[in-house]
């Protein structure tokens, strides 16, 4: 070993460094090229010319004017096509009887029945039979017993006090309206999701068609559902319910497919050997055996429902959401906070209860008297009887009169003013320096980015990562946005989300790393992430408006607050999921803790962290649309609010699709990269 240090080493060093940096270098060169030579590009290659976007005779070529007279406007924009379809669905009678809209309105009418029933039960009572509503003490007690049954007295206490909060703080009617919307919509969404999943299991072809639709539905922002619903159902409470059902069912359908397919092969074989028919296999073996997975879907549906019920306030759904919207619009922040807390408490209670339901393991029953075999049923019966009796004797236990409710709004307002004035100075640098030195340059970059370059870059990434198929897919997404006529607005939205995601990563990545280093920290951060993730996105507008008032910074901060969670979560989960044997190998090789982190854990966890960034982008795109309400930028969110105000369903859907395709572009590219990298690392 004397002086034979391999001559290969010195040459390999610089070469591999260049090699590793080749993509950043290409990107940097591209940016330089852009700055220098942008002026040499023809105009049509920079912004899509209007001649293209308003002059698309495609529907005419396909349908002619015989079949779809509404679509024959030669030289129309994509929004016109969409509206053409909307008009056909709205005006044209199918078989000369009913229009599509009559059908949708008819179906929507059916939902009024269960909604009325649950509202009568919880709030107003059945006036026809002079039956009063369930006393609030009973509702609270039953929620408590449910929590006690599902997990233990801790959860019971939580559930019970969440309900009690709503009564004591005078939010009873609003909260119970929201709750009954969730209680009606969630089971329907679950049922539809289940049916879709079962059909997909039965017919492969149906599954192949369904899966991309579900992906698209999951990347459509909330307004993509709300605006068409207004046209086909109308404004109001039931429209909100329908939008909620549509919004919440994709995860259930997906989880049903995965769950039913995931049943252990042996269990299925046991079913076949027992002589089950196909129907018995499905109902007695597959579905029950997939129960734990299906219950995860139930939890997700419930949380999605709550989030959408709150946002449905924009199209007139009653409940806490509309109260919150009104308070925010009139800047009554203390009142808004009180409603917000009610929503948050309801979110936490619903999440924990449905999670406990999914984790509940069956336990055998011992023989004995009824009360010892069914202690929870007995307790529920006793509590209901006692509560009803109490409400009979003391009316306040039935319905708390308004003058007995408490409000802390003045105190909250005081607190908010204090916090805001205390934070005004420290936060002023954000207000002063962020716009001129960060925001405006980045916005200018995105606004001036030629669409051809964007399309080319996306297509190239797709080609490198997944061949021509991915390139074509991504190209089609971007091409749709180009031809939609909303390219500049889409780029402003991209800029907002880009800035927000960068801030999320700068803030969230270190937090995730920090959290991964000790078990205790992981537990605390995991608890916080779990809790914050259950909150409906709308809630996050409250603190942002408090601190930054209305404007671009608020819009970005709202995204940051909401969308940081996935980065943090995927970072610590990814870092902790590195196989223990590899860490032990590193320790026994003499690595210091920081070497273990940076040389072993980080490279292995990196694909997972990128999936977190991907989620952050998707969350960001959802939030950028909601926060458009406070933003004031010339972005897609502003246009979608305008479309909503004008009831322009075609335009609303088109804008929502633009957002979805932005998200899907990022999602496809990052997922392709992550799965390729995982395969290279042998982690699949």
């Amino acid at each position: 070993m004397t002086g034979t240090a391999g001559p290969a080493l010195p040459t390999a060093g610089p070469r591999s460094a260049w090699f590793r940096l080749r993509w950043p270098l290409v990107a940097a060169l591209g940016v330089v090229f852009l700055i220098l030579f942008r002026g040499t590009l023809p105009d049509w290659a920079i912004t899509p010319p209007e001649l293209w976007t308003t002059n698309l005779p495609l529907p005419f070529l396909i349908f002619g004017d015989a079949f779809f007279p509404a679509l024959t406007i030669k030289g129309s924009s994509v929004a016109d096509w969409f509206n053409g379809i909307v008009i056909v669905l709205r005006e044209h009678e199918i078989f000369g009887l009913l229009t599509f809209r009559d059908v949708t309105r008819g179906i929507a009418g059916l939902i009024v029945w269960p909604l009325n029933f649950s509202e009568d039960l919880l709030i107003s009572g059945f006036s026809d039979w002079e039956i009063p509503p369930i006393p609030w003490v009973v509702t609270s007690a039953l929620a408590g017993i449910l929590g006690w049954y599902l997990r233990g007295w801790g959860l019971g206490l939580l559930a019970s006090s969440c309900i009690a909060y709503c009564a004591v703080f005078g939010k009873w009617e609003l909260a119970m309206t929201t709750l009954s919307l969730v209680l009606v919509t969630a089971p329907i969404a679950i049922l539809i999701g289940l049916v879709l999943g079962i059909l997909a299991l039965k017919w492969r072809r149906f599954e192949r068609a369904l899966w991309p639709i579900l992906n698209l539905m999951q990347s459509l922002p909330h307004f993509g559902y709300l605006i068409p619903i207004v046209v086909f159902v109308g404004l109001g409470h039931k429209a909100g319910a329908i939008a909620t059902i549509l919004f919440a069912l994709p995860p259930m359908a997906k989880i049903t497919i995965l769950g039913l397919r995931g049943v252990a092969a042996e269990v299925l074989e046991a079913g076949v050997m027992a002589g089950c028919t196909r129907r018995q296999m499905l109902w007695r073996v597959r579905i029950p055996a997939a129960r734990p997975t299906l219950m995860v879907g139930v939890n997700q549906v419930i949380m999605q429902c709550l989030a959408m019920v709150v946002i449905s306030a924009f199209i007139g759904a009653r409940g806490l959401g509309i109260d919150l919207l009104f308070r925010l619009q009139t800047l009554q922040l203390g009142r808004a906070l009180e409603s917000g807390i009610a929503i948050v408490l309801m979110a936490i209670a619903l999440d924990r209860l449905s999670q406990a339901l999914s984790e509940k393991e069956p336990v055998h029953r011992q023989d004995g008297p009824f009360w010892s075999v069914h202690p929870y049923l007995t307790a529920a019966g006793l509590a209901a009887a006692a509560g009803i009796l109490l409400a009979y004797l003391v009316p306040e236990a039935g319905q708390l009169p308004r003058e007995m409710t408490v409000t802390l709004a003045p105190q909250w307002d005081l607190l908010i003013r204090g916090v805001v004035s205390a934070l005004f100075e420290p936060l002023s640098f954000i207000r002063e320096y962020l716009p001129p030195y960060v925001l405006i340059p980045i916005r200018t970059f995105f606004e001036q980015l030629p669409w051809t370059v964007f399309l080319g870059a996306a297509g190239l990434c797709g080609w490198v990562l997944g061949g021509w198929r991915l390139a074509a897919l991504v190209g089609a997404y971007v091409g749709f946005i180009v031809l939609s006529g909303w390219w500049t607005e889409a780029m402003v939205t991209t800029y907002l989300v880009f800035v927000a995601v960068v801030i999320c990563v700068i803030f969230g990545f270190p937090v995730g790393v920090w959290a991964s280093r000790r078990d205790r920290r992981t537990r605390v951060v995991a608890f916080l992430c779990d809790t914050f993730q259950t909150f409906p996105s709308f809630i996050y507008l409250i603190p942002v408006i408090m601190l930054f008032q209305v404007g671009t910074i608020s819009q970005i901060m709202a995204i940051v607050v909401y969308a940081s969670i996935p980065v943090i979560r995927y970072t610590y989960v990814g870092l902790r999921a590195v196989p223990h044997s590899m860490v032990e190998a590193a320790i026994s090789s003499g690595c210091t803790p920081s070497q273990i982190l940076w040389k072993v854990r980080m490279p292995l966890a990196f694909p997972e962290i990128m999936l977190g960034v991907n989620q952050t982008i998707m969350f960001g795109l959802f939030m950028v649309m909601i926060a458009g309400f406070i933003g004031g930028n010339f972005d897609l969110a502003r246009e979608i609010f305008k479309a909503k105000a004008q009831n322009d369903a075609g335009l609303g859907l088109l804008l929502a699709l633009c957002v979805a395709f932005l998200g899907l572009t990022a999602d496809r590219l990052i997922s392709a990269w992550a799965s390729r990298r995982k395969a290279q690392l042998g982690l699949t």
């Binding site: 269990v267 074989e269 046991a270 050997m273 027992a274 002589g275 007695r284 029950p288 129960r291 393991e361």
Partner: protein, 340 residues
């Protein structure tokens, strides 16, 4: 010999792009090279098998040898590519889905490696499940289920859920479920492999006890040779999809068909396996003085006696006639030869 319960002729299961065409193209005799080139895998290759009533046939092989695939072809959990499976005179591969359901409901039972219990059902509902899907009414099926639960020694646990039981207890439930319909054929697919060694032994004893009571026709899959020797009437050794030898444990040890079987059986305790008859030499004249041994005694039982004597010991059969002689050298060779 009685009519075999299951008769299987030229059975093939091939995975790949177009299994049936591939098999036809190569005239049902594809070579390993042809498999590799075309991207097909022969999980079961040209298997011929007969299962006699009341016997325990153990199919044994290492993982990937095709033993689990065979048992699934016999019950048509897996659709074979080619061949015949005659079950009590009917060709299973020609049976309709409806007929198969009927056969499985009344004539077959199966026990699985990982128990495959339905997690949402109590012990009694798991055991009664095959009866339930047939439409047997609740009282009747619970009565029958209770009987079997008692038989497998789980009385008092009827209302437990599977996750509340130990592995061994769960497999007792699996066994009870497979017996609920009183099947004619009992398939056991590595039933004790997921259990730890002490429990495994206990379960083997339990299995033998049940078989003494029930006299089922059994096809038992395992990769454990000790288990095979303990339980089997006959053994089929599988290697790369083929049955390389089918016979009693003793035949495998004394007359291995291939080097693979020889290597496989090398380490088994021969003292308890070999009979005097399989080791002895020809009778040289009259019966010698002193004690004699009987031809179906195990070598281990007579080794002490034979090794302690200088001269060959006479071997007699059940009726007292001399059928051979056994020398010290023969015993030593049989016990300590490494099979080569």
């Amino acid at each position: 010999m009685a009519e075999p319960v299951i008769l299987c002729r030229g059975l093939w299961k091939i995975y790949g792009p177009e299994p049936a065409k591939f098999l036809a193209r190569h005239d049902s005799k594809p070579s390993p090279e042809q498999f590799e080139q075309s991207g097909h895998i022969g999980a079961v290759q040209d298997v011929n098998l007969d299962v006699q009533p009341g016997e325990i046939l153990v199919i044994m092989g290492l993982s990937g040898s095709g033993k689990s695939t065979i048992v699934r072809c016999l019950s048509r959990l897996i659709e074979p590519t080619h061949g015949q499976v005659i079950f009590q005179g009917t060709d299973l591969l020609k049976a309709t889905e409806k007929e198969m359901i009927e056969i499985r409901r009344h004539k077959m039972g199966m026990v699985f490696q990982n128990f495959a219990l339905l997690p949402h059902r109590t012990v009694i509902d798991n055991v009664a499940f095959p009866l339930e899907v047939q439409g047997v009414d609740r009282a009747k099926r619970h009565e029958r289920a209770l009987e079997i639960i008692e038989l497998v020694g789980l009385k008092g646990r009827e209302k437990y859920y599977p996750r509340e039981l130990s592995g061994g207890q769960q497999q007792r439930v699996g066994i009870a479920r497979s017996l609920a319909v009183e099947p004619d054929v009992w398939f056991l697919d590595e039933p004790f492999s997921a259990l730890d060694p002490l429990i495994r032994r206990e379960m083997q004893d339990e299995f033998l006890r049940l078989q003494n009571l029930l006299h089922k026709t059994i096809i038992f899959i395992t990769h454990d040779f000790d288990e095979t020797v303990r339980l089997a009437d006959r053994i089929a050794i599988m290697y790369e999809g083929r049955i390389v030898q089918l016979g009693t444990a003793e035949e495998l040890v004394t007359k291995p068909a291939t080097d693979y079987v020889r290597a496989f059986t090398r380490d088994i305790p021969k003292a308890k396996l070999l009979t005097v008859a399989s080791v002895m030499g020809p009778a040289d004249g009259e019966r010698t003085d002193g004690p004699a041994v009987i031809d179906d005694q195990r070598i281990g039982d007579v080794a002490g006696l034979v090794i302690g004597r200088d001269k060959p010991v006479s071997v007699v059969n059940g009726s007292g006639n001399v059928v051979g002689s056994l020398t010290r050298q023969q015993v030593v060779d049989a016990l300590f030869a490494d099979g080569s």
